[in-house]
């Protein structure tokens, strides 16, 4: 029936073209919308994974309560009454058994590397202005194994921090706020101690505002010293082989430790939930487009089937079966679907290529420079499958109606 189906399509050039436009539009929109959203999301996720540890082990911040001190005072007393009960944070949260953690991380095959941190809130002062940030004390050689921060250095090298000696690597936004430059010295205090001078030996730019605007990396020893707590660490950053596994590893470790453990997707749950909403919106848009295109095919084929009642009767009288009549119309839908899908894929691809040249800056996460578009084959396969499925389904109903027509009714109707 291919021969006749094609002739039908060619004979109704204008209708064919309009139906085709609907499908092309649908497929194009699918490619562009999907490419745009997944490109954007992939880019952000890559950046997240590049610049931050996949898993973080934090010291738990314990709060002092009325009963925290009971055991130290009255070993046998049942009740302790305070006139003014103690409260607030314990002076220092620290990981109690770092050596135990190191052993555990070393022996876990899912762990690529880990890096102990001592992180503290800091104030950087300059003249009368002060900027708050976070000083992350690291061993630079371990840290570069855990994140790809080396790739985001604008000036200097991350390892220039060395193993001590008051050298820091600073996010570019933070440095801007402070008003200092690469190579200069800035004054850092933890808010309690006297400010100490640190030399800026490197500047990085990850494109993520929260990181670039507040992070200061320094030597582990320097950070500990500034806080007056040598040998204490309060964070371990971990890189794993499979980022999808991180969640489950965190869950695992939580069962058997005192520390607070967060995987990258838990840390960034806000972002990721935005992605979910984006994806839902995207699927809804695409569904609407496909439904509209599907209705286009359905309407036109329904009309055609009605116009072709006599043809159907004649074909039946020549011995063409129900299935052959159905295939006559189904093939038309299929041809429209396939041709439309492929043209839509080409158009979508071209539009994506164009979109990639558009500059794009700002946003909460900082500029990526250009729009990131995904060309994942799965998007194109989905577009093809959806368009073809949608057009076959839309043409199936009219085709089935055509297959059900009995020749006699139509021949008789023609004679009236």
């Amino acid at each position: 029936m291919w021969f006749l189906a094609i002739r039908h399509l060619v004979a109704r050039k204008r209708q064919t073209l309009f139906t085709l436009l609907g499908i092309i539009f649908g497929a194009t929109a699918f490619i562009v919308i999907s490419g745009f959203f997944s490109g954007f999301q992939n880019f952000l996720i890559t950046q997240l994974l590049d610049n931050d540890a996949h898993l973080k082990i934090f010291a738990k911040e314990d709060l002092v309560t009325e009963h925290s001190l009971d055991q130290y005072f009255f070993k046998d007393a049942e009740h302790v009454f305070w006139i003014s009960p103690p409260g607030g944070k314990k002076d220092l949260a620290s990981i109690t058994d770092p050596q135990g953690w190191y052993r555990r991380l070393k022996s876990d095959p899912r762990v690529i590397a880990y890096s102990p941190h001592f992180t503290s809130q800091i104030l950087v002062t300059r003249a009368k202005a002060s900027v708050s940030g976070r000083l992350i004390g690291v061993d630079p050689h371990l840290q570069t194994k855990v994140t790809n921060i080396e790739n985001y250095m604008e000036m200097g090298r991350f390892t220039d921090i060395g193993s001590g000696g008051n050298r820091v690597v600073v996010g570019d936004d933070f440095l801007g706020k402070v008003g200092a430059h690469y190579g200069e010295t800035i004054l850092i205090s933890n808010g309690i101690s006297q400010p100490k001078p640190f030399k800026v030996v490197g500047v990085f730019h990850t494109g993520m505002k929260p990181i670039d605007g507040s992070s200061v990396y320094g030597g582990l020893v320097d950070a500990q010293k500034m806080n007056g707590t040598p040998d204490v660490i309060n964070e371990i950053a971990v890189r794993v082989t499979d980022t999808d596994e991180a969640k489950f590893m965190a869950e695992d470790w939580r069962q058997s430790s005192h520390e607070k453990i967060e995987s990258w997707d838990e840390t960034n749950a806000n972002f990721l939930s935005v992605f979910k909403i984006q994806n839902a919106t995207r699927y809804m848009m695409i569904a609407v487009i496909l439904i509209v295109a599907g209705f286009g095919i359905y309407n036109i084929l329904n009309m055609v089937v009605n116009q072709k009642r006599k043809d159907i009767a004649i074909l039946r009288s020549m011995g063409f079966e129900t299935s052959e009549i159905i295939s006559l119309f189904l093939i038309q839908g299929l041809i429209l679907g396939i041709v439309g899908a492929f043209s839509g894929m080409v158009f979508g691809f071209l539009i994506c290529l164009y979109l990639e040249t558009i500059r794009f800056g700002g946003g909460p996460l900082g500029g990526a420079g250009f729009l990131r578009i995904s060309y994942a084959p799965v998007i194109y396969i989905q577009a093809l499958v959806l368009s073809v499925a949608c057009s076959s389904f839309a043409s199936f109903l009219p085709a089935r109606a055509a297959g059900r027509m009995q020749p006699i009714e139509i021949i008789r109707a023609g004679a009236d």
Partner: protein, 221 residues
Amino acid sequence: MSIEVSNVKKLFGNPAVEVLKGISFKIDNGKFVSLTGKSGSGKSTLLYIMSSLDAPTEGSIKIDGEDVYKLSQKDLHQFRNRKMGFVFQFHYLLPEITCLENVLMPTMKTGQMKEYEKPAKDLLALFGLKDKFDRLPRQLSGGEQQRVAIARAMIMRPKYLFADEPTGNLDSANGELVMKILKSANSSFGATVVMVTHDPDFAAQATSQVFLLDGKVSGIR
């Protein structure tokens, strides 16, 4: 071998009107039969019933000894494709394809378009349409279209040809031509022809005549 019509009744509508009131006769193969009667006497109804297109309310049609309304769908369609040809008063051709392709449509079902191309051309040439193979139906006159439709009905050399007023819409010259063609199908490859007509002259050219009156056979000659 024959077409056997036995006690065929047909009721239409609600309340039911009996249009055919018990018709029985037999047409031997190789005959050219005309079916005549007043308008509304049930000629078309009977022809459609005889030709497998419309089931009777009662009674049976046996062609080559087989009850056509008891055939499976598959066999019925094969039967129509191989052994039957239809010519309607409205000589409907498929408008998107050329004359030659229209004639070849029945062969498409069996995938024999190529083999039948030459016979189809010969047939059209025989019907005086030698230079019109590649025309679309709407580029032909009514008489020419009717001849193409007959060529289509004859391409498979069917054993049975059913025609409902094939000359009804034609002038006398074209009518004569169509008659000649139908008679030649009957004589050249022995098709059994059943033709409904109003024209007494054409009816008289048949080898047998069946007269209908108010849904009953009023005479056979």
